[in-house]
Subunit: 284 residues, 2 copies
């Protein structure tokens, strides 16, 4: 932390250590305990300093151990941007007018995995927790795509975790966007086709009550599926794909050298040159 002498004050006021962002903003990461009143004075002095510098947005990351400093920042006009288990991110906007700070993450992302064996049976599970618990419903393995995780990797991981089946990712067949299931956030669910590489099921103890390979007709005949337009719709797309009458999006690793551009592009592989593997080939 640097010290400055304000023109109008005789006493020295410490400033908060900040780094600059690409948008004329300042980012402060608190790590040392301090008294809330000392923090409030430093914050006031720092805002005056940043204002002179022409700064716009101010971000303060407060680890949960320093929760006693949050109230002081809110009293100085900061508000919440986002929070994770171990920290709270506060923001402040110095100029007049509406802020142009980026929005918080808005979507949860999930996958549903269609995996079929050589007998045209689909891999299904019964969940131990949640609203389907104890209802005898057989469903595709599903799960959450973690932050920082590729959709294609999440599908392979969830199938492995829930059933111990090794599988290779083939395509995103379709996706669904829905709203309001989780506070004010929205959900994106990607329906993924995976090719099994092993066939012996070992169910996950913690989350899965039962797992099996199930005849396609039996899956589709379940009242739970029959009552859900999206489930019927997606299942029929899976069957069309298996019969080579449908084409989804394949993941193409981004070959860019720019770190921000890593990850995958998902495109209709039927038009790719060189072609990406997109068929469903089961061992004879």
């Amino acid at each position: 932390m640097e010290k400055i002498i304000d023109e109008n004050e005789v006493e020295q006021v410490k400033l908060l250590a900040a780094i600059n962002d690409d948008h004329e903003g300042a980012i402060v990461e608190l790590s040392e305990p301090m008294h809330p009143e000392d923090f409030a004075s430093m914050l006031r002095a720092s805002i005056a300093h940043w204002r002179k510098q022409g700064k716009r947005g101010v971000w303060i990351k407060v680890p949960i151990e320093l929760v006693n400093l949050v109230e002081a920042a809110v009293k100085e006009g900061f508000w919440y941007h986002h929070a994770e288990p171990k920290y709270l991110m506060l923001i402040y906007w110095i100029p007049e007018g509406t802020h142009t700070l980026p929005a918080n993450a808005s979507h949860r992302v999930g996958i549903g995995a269609f995996v079929m064996n050589e007998k045209r049976e689909v891999l299904v599970v019964q969940e131990k927790n949640g609203i389907l618990r104890g209802k005898g419903v057989w469903k595709f393995p599903t799960g959450t795509v973690d932050e920082g995780e590729d959709i294609c990797a999440a599908a392979v991981r969830e199938v492995k975790e829930e059933t111990d089946i090794d599988a290779e990712f083939v395509e995103v067949l379709a996706f669904r966007q829905s709203h309001g299931e989780f506070f004010d956030k929205s959900d994106l669910c990607f329906i993924c086709l995976l090719q099994p590489l092993s066939f012996d099921i070992q169910k996950q103890e913690s989350e899965i009550d039962a797992a099996q390979w199930m005849p396609l007709d039996e899956y589709r005949a379940q009242p739970f599926v029959q009552k859900s337009e999206p489930l019927k719709y997606f299942f029929d797309l899976c069957l069309a794909k298996i019969d080579n009458k449908y084409s989804g999006f394949s993941p193409v690793p981004n070959t860019s050298n720019i770190p921000d551009e890593k990850g995958y592009l998902y495109v209709n592989s039927r038009y790719l040159s060189p072609p990406v593997r997109s068929g469903y080939h089961l061992p004879a």
Copy 2:
């Protein structure tokens, strides 16, 4: 708030008013100011009560006006789940072992809009803010999909806001997932094809420096595009689509009666029956 008499205490302790969720959890929404010490006693009594009831997860929504109560909850073992500008959501897990509470929203979602006129010129803008400011780069209109907003609606809205062009959504041509641009969160960007319904550009004053219809070759020849594998890739998919050599995903409104299932499914429309409009038809 109800009152209970604890077996071991003579004094009456108020409990926090809570509603139940579908996962044996309790949800508390604070709204009345109180002293942090009173809140801490009520919280301790409430947790004891919920524990007897067999409750698992506890959620406490604290509006920013009651920021002075956050520290007390953290001291009782609560941690942060998520935050929005006006509130902080705290959670606590009563049973032994690892919690199974749902993760926070993990992705920001954006769109890039390809809009072409009858002269085969693409709609492009120069941005006033951000890293491209003042660099003379012409790019597709882009923007953030708000929570609760459909991807197809966001694309139409952003084109209208930035250029005043009315347009109809046609298809999601491809999408990209990337990581680490925004703290630990991930990004999903959907490349959307829109059909223009009007052609006179009026640029947005607040965010856009300039907007125009630009010949396709001129767009692609920009060093900014040439240096970006995804941009070149996506642009070539747009051209293939225009020439009817590519097929993306069309939005299909979900006809389900279940509120949680509203929103859109996005599927390859080439295989839909009845067919969904997916061609690009410009006025002669």
